[in-house]
């Protein structure tokens, strides 16, 4: 059981469609506790990613090639903190996935590398009301699922489920990193837009594997 380059491409295309679909929701979440550009920025970034994928003459050979294309394009086109954060996450994930297929351990490595990238760039830890609060439980759930003998699709499903729960759990938190931290306690009671987009992206990874 494994996921391949076609899965990675499907994941990216699904991500672009999902972000477009949830653009206004992400804008509204970010408007409540940030600068209101998260949905618009990510939508612009993923549209650019799809345009680059469409322009490729041949499909990439490795999963890492697909993720690297996502990384560099998001960095160049997003224009907000999500650009360098997701850019670094996909870049680290790309370095961890220099192969045509991934088994369950490979999927875990991908998710962990993404988390490492977010943490390295944003210097955030859990409980600060950021993307890290969705990525961390996702990585933990992925490890558990893989250790229990789960397939790549099952590992991704577990990660997606944990990311969604982690995102929801940011609602009562007071932000101490990122733009929302300027609001202090007024940031409590709102879902963090970065954690929400992380949950959406990981759900697409799982959906692509299940398809």
């Amino acid at each position: 059981m494994s996921v391949d380059v076609a899965w990675a491409i499907d994941w990216v295309r699904r991500s672009a469609a999902t972000i477009a679909e949830h653009r206004d929701e992400l804008v509204e979440l970010d408007r409540q506790i940030g600068d209101g550009d998260h949905g618009e920025n990510l939508d612009r970034g993923f549209r650019a990613v799809v345009a680059k994928l469409d322009a490729l003459e041949e499909p990439p050979e490795q999963i890492g090639d697909v993720l690297k294309l996502v990384a560099t394009t998001l960095m160049s086109t997003v224009g907000g903190a999500a650009g360098p954060l997701y850019g670094t996450a996909y870049l680290r994930a790309a370095k961890a996935t220099a192969s045509a297929e991934l088994d369950s351990a490979g999927v875990v490595a991908l998710i962990e590398a993404g988390l490492d990238g977010i943490v390295a760039r944003g210097k955030a830890t859990t409980g600060e009301k950021t993307m890290v609060d969705a990525w961390t439980p996702a990585a933990e759930a992925a490890v558990v699922a893989a250790d229990a003998g789960g397939s790549p699709a099952e590992v991704l499903a577990a990660a997606a489920k944990a990311a969604a729960a982690g995102a929801e759990a940011t609602i009562p938190l007071t932000a101490t990193k990122g733009r929302a931290s300027y609001l202090g306690e007024r940031s409590a009671g709102h879902l963090d837009p970065g954690a929400r987009s992380t949950a959406l992206l990981l759900a697409d990874a799982a959906a692509a594997a299940a398809a």
């Binding site: 560099t72 960095m75 907000g80 903190a81 650009g83 360098p84 760039r121 944003g122 733009r179």
Partner: protein
């Protein structure tokens, strides 16, 4: 002005802001006090919205470090920092070795760094000037005691009255700092370093204020002499 010819500044500045206007304004402000220093604004997204521009920063870093220069980078808010760091992550080692990201207030850091770069300082000194620019008020007790002049202690002292109608504002403060960078001497005015534009401005010296100029070092006498000359001619403003 009576200062020796100088090599072009070795250190350029890159000012990264979410706002095109803010980056351009900071360049304008810092540039007024440091002609000849390469100041590169990178503000907003390529389509003129608020945000940060990865490719723009990458291009600015290349331009700033061309011709053997190094560069200090000032950034305004979180994602400007994250994007600048990401650019460095992907840059080649030679460029990375010559670029420093300053943990400094955007405007004050830019002004302090620009003036220091204009004085011919190296990368570390320009970075230190930017990062030391955060304090709004002189450190308590930093002012020199009113000790009597004593030629035997090696300190050259002069006192002159400030003639400028607008007081010791940004332009004359920059003139002093720039002028003195050419001399091997440690100069203070009323207890604050004359090498620091911001410290000079924060003296709040108005027209008629007595300036107590003190200098130490091999060229202390020369430094005090040019300083006094500039004070007496009102820094060209009277």
């Amino acid at each position: 002005m009576s200062q020796p010819d100088r090599e072009p500044a070795r250190v350029a500045l890159v000012l990264v802001s979410h706002s095109r206007d803010l980056a351009a304004g900071a360049v304008e402000l810092a540039g007024q006090m440091a002609p000849g220093v390469l100041l590169i604004p990178v503000g907003g997204t390529p389509d003129g919205q608020l945000g940060t521009d990865f490719d723009g920063i990458e291009h600015a870093f290349a331009q700033a470090t061309a011709d053997g220069r190094s560069a200090v980078v000032l950034m305004d808010l979180g994602s400007a920092v994250l994007t600048a760091e990401s650019v460095l992550d992907l840059a080649d080692d030679d460029l990375v070795a010559r670029v420093r990201l300053a943990d400094a207030p955007f405007v004050e850091g830019a002004v302090a760094a620009a003036v220091t770069a204009h004085g011919g300082a190296d990368l570390d000194a320009v970075l230190a000037a930017a990062e030391g620019a955060g304090r709004m008020y002189p450190v308590e007790g930093a002012a020199t005691p009113d000790a009597p002049a004593d030629a035997a202690d090696g300190v050259v002292r002069e006192t002159r009255t400030l003639l400028n109608p607008m007081g010791l504002h940004a332009r004359p403060a920059a003139v002093i700092s720039r002028m003195l960078a050419a001399y091997d001497a440690k100069v203070t005015v009323n207890g604050v370093s004359a090498a620091s534009v911001l410290a000079l401005m924060k003296l709040g010296a108005t027209q008629g204020t007595e300036l107590r100029i003190e200098a130490e070092g091999p060229q202390a006498a020369e430094a005090v002499k040019v300083f006094v000359t500039e004070v007496e001619r009102g820094f060209g403003e009277i």
